[in-house]
């Protein structure tokens, strides 16, 4: 496939991620931080996010499975997940965490369990999307192309 076509795919794909709410402006912030001294910064941070989040999700599953649920602990985990997803611009994951925290506050187990499922779903979706994004970028670079600069206009 021609580089130009892959570049076009990347642009379209990225646009769709913003339009569908998977990504928000914070992701752009992350990209601002990437430079020649740290060319893989975004990919590294996103990768770390998914590793850390997996652990948090495991902790949450265990915590909600206890005979007596420690909602403070659950809330702390969700708060952390909310914070880190927010930092990388993973909007849907962040929003799922916000809903989750509301149920923690009123100590509603059923609500929490449902939210946990939702967060897990959003986590896997986001992971998938990011992987596709980075794969497209790698393909472009491997073909000797440059990641396209797209303008933001209104």
């Amino acid at each position: 496939m021609e580089v130009v076509q892959i570049q076009r795919n990347l642009v379209d794909y990225t646009k769709s991620l913003f339009m569908e709410g998977f990504l928000d402006g914070q992701f752009l912030q992350l990209q601002q931080l990437q430079d020649e001294s740290n060319p893989d910064f975004v990919a590294e941070v996103v990768s770390l996010f998914f590793d850390d989040s997996q652990k948090l999700l495991n902790e949450l599953t265990i915590a909600l499975d206890q005979p007596i649920v420690d909602f403070k602990k659950v809330d702390a985990h969700v708060h952390q997940l909310k914070g880190s997803s927010s930092s990388i611009g993973a909007q849907k994951v962040k929003n799922a965490c916000i809903a989750f925290r509301n149920f923690c506050e009123v100590q509603n187990i059923e609500g929490c369990l449902t939210c946990l499922q939702q967060v897990k779903l959003e986590y896997y979706l986001a992971k998938n999307k990011f992987e596709t994004l980075f794969r497209l970028e790698q393909q472009i670079v491997a073909s000797g192309g440059s990641i396209p600069m797209i303008e933001m206009g209104f």
Partner: protein, 187 residues
Amino acid sequence: MCKKLVQMMQGNVWISTNSLGFAQSMTLLLRFQIQSYIQRTMYAHGTSGEQSNSYSRFRGLRVLLADDDDINRIVTKKMLEKLGCEVTAVSTGFECLSAISHAENSFRVVVLDLHMPEIDGFEVATRIRKFRSRNWPLIIALTASAEDHVRERCLQIGMNAVLQKPVLLQGMAAELQRVLHRTGDGV
């Protein structure tokens, strides 16, 4: 739709200087700064110069960053480094206090996450303000909360600024500028 635009603008206003004047268009376009291996060598001598010039006043500024979340800590650290700061990052309140109490470290600014386990940012800041009577480091709090009482409590304890998370590069730059200027360190 508008919400998404606002969110996207939030992180991106400064980038749109190159806008080709698509003001009338309802098309939403996005801009990235990821550079290819080929372009990287071209950028080696500072095309990011436009930014680095305006951020040079922070060059060498010694900052201590305390945040228990790995992701947030890495992102905030990179942000501060992008602004030219020399950053030491720790992940607990105790490490933060320990780092400050070592005489050879003289941090000008402490960037402090308020919500850390074991010992939170409020407590850390209170203790900092107690034991350092000279060379008060400036303290910038980071919080996800938008509530006024949080801000008030921070200022009462003696912190110098409160930044809401997620932090933006321009936001951090603006707060650093503000707190340094107030103490007469502004260049």
